[in-house]
Symmetry: C2
């Protein structure tokens, strides 16, 4: 592993994307979302994508300069054509519009299509929460890797779900996860460490139980989390993320553009109910109570969002650890496009 | 088990509640929701409640004649005081208002407090779907019986989640489940059959793994489904259902009124996005594809809502099977309040 300070990793990313035609403002936002993923411990959604997104720019799948556009709008809704720019720019537009509308109209629903990979969705729900808005976010990934419950083979993407609410104190509330038992990145981590994976994560190509961290490349697939219950949520993400927005469905199974996202956010203003102050007061009290709840032996009760907060504090101090392969890839990319990584690291 | 025809069970219920002061219209709706729960296989939310609700009327917790009231309203939102009438009447008001607003405003969020037990929440999301409206529904149950992830003891209620979308063909789409591994009713069923329960459903009072179907009455508790992921959804139901609506939080742990529900629905009109026709067409195609997906050996892939549909068709034909204890209780109640059950069954 290589440890890189947060500011250096950010500077490298900004240079990478401005070199490829992104405006400074756009590159800065994009890189912030990726570095934030590493900071919060979600390395599978982090600067690993510097190279992937650069490939997609080169191949014409990411349109660096395109502007997301609202093509249908009411006081409470907006329907956005992302025009295949960086997914992060489309998601940023989506959450900004959703929050503005929730502030004015008390409730909003915003969806987008022609949208590239948006990164970690918790970034957006958490941003809304900081503006005093409650949100839920459903995303489909148009790249099948997860089976349906009792199904054989890959049907849907990891179709994540996120929800966040405003809090006042030190404890955040952020739910943000793939509807598979784990994200594919967890298998890569196990593979890099040379360890087996738990048997309830995947099936092999014949549907057999297995513990091979490399099983996805051998025709295996991830399972939905929590049996038929996680499967239900997986399908809600598919229907709201893709069917409602007109994005590519998981089972269509075509490979380009790579991993598009159909995205859908519902946003609610607490002022339409108990009011923001009262909501935050109740929520803070509840989260404090849960955080301090007695735990099973050897365990600890954590509030959703708390592990991310702790990891971020640690990594802000100590820097971000990257696998050798990721760091090598980034260096090769920089050399190819003319970013002087040594000058930045000096 | 006793098998009772659907129409007779309905008639008995209507007599039970009109005898206790409910209008015919109100009793008819209430009983329809309870019988529908049995029909769809969710016996834990069915006519078992004829007796429970009657007790709550007697004890003054259910106000038979009260009218749910909108106390705050915008074009897209409504905040409802249920005034402790039947929870079903409050939920009916909530879903009707949400659907009306979603039709006009394209998106709606409606929440309610002072709300008794509303029964099976899939009834309401499914009703919205039949009106062409997509909805998600979060409910808190102000009666702790489920632990938090890694926690010791009962923290939250079974805090269900539901989502439904319009479909055009024969296949419904309805997600509707407790955020615990199973509803408490499944333990009662196992107990009645004299069988052990799977070890991942509950913990005993000391937090130990066990397989005793009677463990809840011995100080044990249910676990959230899907480890930390189901736990996240459990807390979203608590925050939206209770903190946002001002309903009783799970950890408050007081016992009266029994099992109040804080309820919150978000409703979306597909016309604001791809349009209803296009949405239904895509959804039907996807559901057909999933329904016919290859299955693991000995299994079958079912669409969420399909098991309920099949059970309903069977029970409409064959009648509803009730445990002896439930049937005896209903008979005792009828005798006490002067409902001539034999005349109805003739």
């Amino acid at each position: 592993m290589i440890t890189v300070p947060v500011d250096k990793l950010t500077e490298i990313g900004i240079e990478i994307f401005t070199k490829q035609g992104a405006s400074l403002e756009r590159a800065t936002f994009l890189v912030e979302t990726l570095v934030e993923a590493n900071l919060t411990g979600h390395d599978s959604h982090g600067v690993y994508y510097y190279v992937r997104y650069s490939d997609r720019i080169k191949d014409g799948y990411i349109k660096v300069d395109a502007e997301p556009e609202i093509i249908k709008e009411t006081p409470g809704t907006a329907y956005i054509d992302g025009h295949w720019t960086f997914g992060q720019m489309t998601a940023k537009k989506l959450v900004e519009v959703a929050v503005d509308k929730a502030k004015e109209n008390m409730v909003a629903a915003v969806g987008a299509f022609n949208c590239n990979h948006i990164g970690r969705i918790g970034y957006y729900t958490n941003w809304a929460a900081k503006q005093g808005i409650i949100s839920t976010f459903y995303v489909n990934v148009g790249h099948p890797i997860v089976s349906v419950h009792n199904g054989l083979g890959k049907t849907f993407g990891t179709n994540p779900y996120s929800a966040s609410v405003p809090t006042g104190g030190d404890i955040p509330f952020l739910v943000d996860y793939a509807t598979s038992v784990v994200a594919a990145g967890k298998l890569s981590v196990a593979k890099a460490k040379g360890v087996k994976i738990p048997k309830h994560w995947t099936r092999d190509q014949y549907g057999r139980v297995n513990d091979d961290p490399d099983i996805l490349s051998k025709g295996g697939w991830l399972l939905p989390f929590g049996e038929y219950k996680g499967y239900g949520l997986q399908m809600v993400s598919e229907l709201l993320g893709a069917a409602l927005t007109g994005s590519r469905l998981g089972p269509q199974g075509v490979s380009v553009p790579p991993s598009p996202n159909g995205i859908f956010m519902m946003a609610v203003n607490p002022e339409a109910f108990v009011g923001l102050d009262e909501f935050v007061k109740t929520t803070d009290g509840l989260l404090e109570q849960v955080k301090n709840w007695p735990a099973l032996g050897g365990e600890r009760v954590m509030v959703p969002g708390e592990p991310e907060k702790e990891t971020k504090e640690k990594r802000m101090r100590e820097g971000i650890e990257l696998p050798e392969t990721t760091w090598t890839e980034i260096n090769e990319l920089c050399e190819k496009i003319g970013v002087d990584i040594d000058a930045i690291l000096k």
